[in-house]
Amino acid sequence: MDLSLIIALDVVNGAASLFLLCLGLAIIFGMMKIINLAHGEFVMLGAYATVISANAGLNIWIAMLVVAPLFVGLVGLVIERCLIRFLYGRLVDSMLATWGLSLCLIGLVTTIFGNTINGVPTPLGGFQVGAYRSSWYTIFLLAMAVVMMALVYGVLRFTRFGLVARAVMLNPGMAATLGVNPAKIYMATFGIGAAVTGLAGGLLAPVSGITPVMGTAFVAKCFITVVGGGATIISGTLSAAGLFGFVNQLGAYFTTPVYGEVILFLSAILLIRLLPQGISGRFFKGTL
């Protein structure tokens, strides 16, 4: 009983971390159809922002929840202005350019901070469930995933910016004829996507080893989640992150972490074969 509770917590934790990691990518990919191969490096920048500011004496919560998203959001805006805005509608070119960007960011961070492992200690402690232990931070990550989901849903559903953004996402040409400037919306969207990704990096910083190349571990998993989820941001990402997180963590528990990954990728292939439009393309048509 205690054990199954702990395992359930692992599964939920896996899904929540995957959701947090993918949300920014889903915003950028879902709205702008830009394949951002530098996504993992945005996570890495968020983690570095947290570690550097926390080690400089800043409160860890402020470092995670404020510094990381603000910093990466700003970086995202600069990158959008200097690079991405020339690539709208050019799928392959955007892949190449963002791949180059990812190498560039890795090189830059390596040059500045060196290639050793950095980190901050995990805040909060552990708690006991019968004979087993788990950490409060797991619960915190879960709560953050829920908060982020509510926030993105709220912005897209109830604000004017959300309405305009959804309009641009559906049909940029039509939105432009109605007096919206799609370029501005794209810029803001990219910045917000980057900020959300930076936040994920900040939140994962205390539970991972931080190196300039850490982003590469996330990119593939995030892409299959976003593609598996389909074009809609919330329902797609949530359902795919839930499914893949569940499959991966349970697989890892009952077999080995190696097979956990294999099972994850196999189920992704199967899913995309059966539902080429992603989960949301079939089941949640017309939702967010």
């Binding site: 917590l9 290639n115 492992i117 205390p206 080893g209 996330f218």
Partner: protein
Amino acid sequence: MALSRRDLLRTAAAVPLSTLAMPAVLRSARAETPILVGSLHDQSGPIAASGTPMVESLKLGIEEVNAAGGLLGRPLQLVHYDTQSNIQMYSQYAQQLAVRDKVAVVHGGITSASREAIRPTFNRFRVLYFYNVLYEGGVCDRNTFCTGTTPAQTVEKLVPYAMGKDKKKVYIIAADYNYGQITAKWMQKYVKDQGGETVSVDFFPLDVTNFGPTISKIQAAKPDLLLSALVGGNHTAFYRQWTSAGMKGQIPIASTTFGLVNEPSTLNAAESDGVLGAYGYFEELTTPASTAYVAKLKKQSPSIPYISELAAATYEGFYLWVEGVKKAKSIDRMAVTEALETGLSFDGPTGKVTIDHATHHVTRNAYLAAVKDRKWTVRETFPDAKPQDTAAVCNLIKNPRDNKQYEISI
């Protein structure tokens, strides 16, 4: 052009004469030409944190020899290529060092995969090769000298110490490539030798970052001891997640890889205190040779994260080659090999290091330490540990033409 018989004879005679005369000219010109020392180490990519201190050690050694007047009256010069944590680069640069640069010796290779990629190249082009990294053992090759520790020198000491008298149930976690796989086998063997039981062995690809399910699984198995051969930045997350789940202090951890880069200084004391490790060297060793070496290396490159066995063994591997050249009075590959095979030794920062003729490995001190306040505290010293695992399968005295990596059956 018509050539008379006399002319032809004269030219024919002149050619060997002039070639005979040439070495004298060359020799005088060569007195100043440097001896080239090749280096293949990763300075970028995931393994760079291990590679950088190794290159710095090699530079330090070369500077010291040059300051003392060089070798055989000639200065030494480093030819270094950054292999970028990329096996393809290893093969390419190995060829370049052997064919184009014509170096006298190569020090390099960090992972076992990179070593196996370049070893055949140096055999083919007859370039002496030194591999200065702790590894899983079993390389048997007359052209190669392995100066790092093997499991018989470290894991064999670590497992019994960590198990003590009462810890019989052991759980093993390891990185999923040949180092982790083979080291996990050694761990199982030593656990069995101590009368213990291995309850589970889990392998992790290098990009696994989430250890939640594993931590639950370990708790369910209730082991007395956790043995870890996890590698790299992503795997460092394990120690963090382990502590945040409150498992630190519940089950002790002993590792064959922890602290090879700078783990003790990145994790905080609560996360790393008490972790046991065994290597051929710790920066914290207080012998005069060690403190002098650390001071010199930190002066040369102040940003060096941690000086582990990798750097120290590279320094000693280089000096063993220097001793070999001095003894052979030549940089010729076979002459140096034979000189080294006489059982040359060098007193380095780790203590006395002696070449073992039969295996081309070294007999060296092993140290067992525990992390305390983000530093290693050496608890035990095992003088003159022998590479017995490799000695069981490799005998280059009997079979000098042997050339393979044995998988030691355990």
